[in-house]
Amino acid sequence: MTSPATAVLSCRVLQDLLEPLLPDEAEVTYLDYGLHTRPVEMAPTLQRHLDALPEPSTVLVGYGLCGNGVVGVESGPHTLVFPRTHDCIGMMLGSQQRYEEEFYAEPGTYYLTRGWLESGDDPLTTYHRYEEDYGTVRAERLIDKIYGSYRRLRVIAFSEEEMERSRQLAAPVAQFCRDRWGMAYDEYLGDPTLLEKLIGAADVDDPDLLVVPPGTTVTQEMFLKDEDLPLRSG
């Protein structure tokens, strides 16, 4: 990087993937992975961390469009580099294109990674948490509303060893989802290419990266291709 300073600001869900890619001296901040369920808090939280950087920096951002959660972030004095993808699933599958292929092949896919399994963000753990908070009857109605439309549970890992570990963690979740909703189960070997491009940031002309120059507000359109948001009005 030619920029005077580089910082990394990322969702914690990518931590395991980013760590091996980052230089030792990298200034890295990981944010609460639960922000994706509260998109209205995402932009202000990112903004707070950007504003707190001591000098104008190139900030490698470990977020995608994330349900429009990053819309409204202002680069201020910094240059922001995002992976040009809708969310972390795209980052784990290696490209937005691969994500779209997988997405339309089976839209009803619920993705799980080791990070989510270990942090208890899965349908079974959620059910137990709701059961404690709201009782069994309400918990069942809630999880049916939240997960009832999914048709497949898919575990993503990045090596055979990680898959072995994730498989063990996912087994009771898969059983629960099969019994309750008839969800299929499969495993998918992830592809770190997109994150490698982000951390390398060697080629800012790479169409897989979104570079937001200083003094610019992040918009939804920046993340989308023309065919995603065709101009049909007027």
């Binding site: 369920t37 809708h86 839209p107 009803g108 509303k145 939240i146 439309s149 995603d228 049909r232």
Partner: protein, 208 residues
């Protein structure tokens, strides 16, 4: 009584909400008044709690569930007023997206406001929207998407609907959509929450 129903709904006590609605009906309260002043008003407050970050998805869902249960009691009594044709809304989550929590909340609120709703469900291809419009002649079509990945399909669906003659007004909503995106895709209106969706539907079906 209406205040008690509202409170029961806000804390998501479905059984109590239904019991109180039945009490209110037995006492001769107009079902539309119960719907508007207790249930819809309660859900509006739930929406505000959610927007302020005081309620999260489970709390909102539990309250919506209580409203749905109460509406099961009230719907047959309101149905006399629900119109055919322009009083009908065809609604669904666009192809590629299976999320329906927001859509279902909109449906409950629309029904509370007296609309007849044809729910096409989730992952709905453009052709099914077109077929449903031909069959039901709705006053407005509602398209929802949570995933931005499904925006392209939303655009295709709007384009297909706009080729119909007459073309129905189309309203869009859901976390994937912004007001700007809705405009670009050719929608006639964008709603940021369930209450706005009801107001927008009423606006779009009004004779112009």
């Amino acid at each position: 009584m209406l205040e008690e129903i509202r409170q029961a709904l806000i804390i998501g006590d479905g059984d109590r909400t239904v019991a109180l609605v039945n009490d209110a009906l037995a006492a001769g309260t107009d079902p539309q008044v119960i719907t508007d002043d207790a249930l819809t008003a309660g859900m509006r407050e739930v929406g505000e709690l959610f927007d302020r970050g005081e309620y999260f998805i489970p709390e909102m869902l539990i309250a919506a569930d209580a409203m749905e249960q109460a509406m099961e009691v009230l719907k047959p009594l309101l149905a006399a007023d629900a119109g055919e044709g322009s009083g009908t809304v065809v609604i669904g989550t666009v192809q590629g997206d299976l999320h329906d929590i927001g859509k279902n909340l909109v449906i409950t609120m629309l029904e509370g406001a007296g609309f007849r709703v044809i729910d096409l469900g989730v992952d709905v291809p453009a052709t099914r929207f077109v077929d449903a419009v031909r069959e039901h002649g709705p006053g407005v079509v509602g398209l929802g998407a949570l995933l931005t990945t499904a925006l392209a399909r939303m655009g295709e669906t709007i384009a297909a609907l706009k080729e119909l003659d007459p073309a129905p007004p189309v309203m869009v909503g859901g976390a994937a959509v912004t007001a700007e995106a809705g405009e670009r895709l050719g929608a006639d209106g964008y709603a940021g929450n369930a209450k706005q969706a009801v107001d927008l539907a009423a606006h779009l079906v009004a004779p112009r």
